[in-house]
């Protein structure tokens, strides 16, 4: 695990060096953006080796596309868009071949209050990871990363209204899921 203080500021990355695919600049880019990319994979339910694989595939795609990056969009938005597509593809591929992993299944119930609170959070995270991919993405960016709707729309290449609809549906589905869980004895 790398300390967050080692992470460079994304705003200081040298775009020209990145376009030339210079190793040092690319390493800085990966350090600056991997937390967001891994978080996206996590919200799509990817874990461990799958998550590492998806992150490596995402940054490989970024590396290949860097010489063509014109800088008209924010670098982070551009990277996130590549990450979104790559991870979506990996999630689809995995869901065709594997059952839902253990961490997305219902948790066991523990007695004390702290453990219950923890379980309640985990139930919500699991529910987010089990959402349809577009909804999970919108929830991750809006609620966890605090991104504005307009920026999410750019990443997902859809109108702002669509993002709002995705968030509305995600909220409704999450509430249903959590209410179901909380009704259980």
């Amino acid at each position: 695990m790398i300390s967050t203080s080692l992470q460079p500021n994304a705003a200081t990355l040298d775009l020209d060096a990145l376009r030339r695919q210079e190793d040092g600049a690319f390493e800085q880019l990966v350090l600056a953006h991997q937390r967001l990319v891994l978080g996206l994979g996590q919200s799509l339910g990817l874990m461990d080796a799958d998550l590492e694989d998806a992150a490596a595939e995402t940054f490989a795609a970024v590396y290949r596309a860097l010489p063509r990056f014109r800088g008209e969009a924010e670098l982070g938005t551009w990277i996130y868009r590549i990450a979104w597509r790559t991870m979506l593809k990996m999630r689809r591929r995995r869901s065709k071949t594997e059952p839902l992993p253990q961490h997305l299944r219902a948790a066991t119930h523990s007695p004390d209050a702290a453990a219950r609170r923890r379980e309640s959070h985990e139930a919500l995270w699991r529910a987010v990871s089990a959402l349809p991919a577009r909804q999970a993405m919108a929830v991750e960016l809006h609620y966890r990363r605090d991104w504005a709707i307009v920026r999410i729309a750019k990443v997902m290449q859809c109108p702002e209204g669509t993002v709002k609809t995705l968030l509305f549906r995600a909220r409704r589905r999450l509430r249903e899921k959590l209410d179901e869980q909380e009704m259980k004895p």
């Binding site: 978080g39 590492e52 595939e57 490989a60 290949r64 596309a65 014109r70 290449q157 909220r171």
Partner: protein, 140 residues
């Protein structure tokens, strides 16, 4: 489903997701990504050019084979007669400089080469940026 009003649910969602542990960072991710992109293999740095070269070569071979098949006596009939339906007529009509079996071989080679070219172009369009989506859209 009505336990939560919109605002309190929004708050809960925001608060809970903020507490979600971040995944562990991967120390050698940049190296792994470059390896996956082919950047650590010297030859692979030029693979876009080698790919275009191989397509060019395949296209040239296809053109030569098609030219021989079309312009040799009986060849035009061979090329326009179709693959499956007129095998017998093609073979019987090729009494010229190249034998029926050679023409069949040429036609097979042509088909295979055309398939290779089409597949190569499709593959380039798909893997050029490694993510399987439009390059034009990705350049903004």
């Amino acid at each position: 489903m009505t336990q939560w009003d919109d605002d309190s649910f929004d708050q809960r969602l925001r608060r809970s997701l903020a507490q979600r542990p971040e995944p562990c960072l991967i120390p050698d991710l940049a190296r792994r990504a470059r390896a996956r992109a082919g950047a650590l293999v010297p030859l692979a740095r030029h693979r876009r050019w080698t790919r275009w070269l191989s397509i060019g070569a395949a296209a040239l071979i296809a053109a030569v084979i098609a030219g021989v098949a079309v312009f040799s006596p009986g060849g035009s009939l061979l090329m326009f007669s179709g693959v499956s339906s007129s095998a017998a007529s093609v073979v019987s009509s090729t009494g010229g400089q190249i034998s029926g079996s050679l023409q069949w071989m040429l036609m097979g080679l042509t088909m295979v080469t055309i398939c290779i070219v089409v597949l190569s172009i499709w593959r380039i369009l798909e893997v050029e940026d490694g993510s399987g989506f439009s390059l034009a859209a990705e350049s903004w």
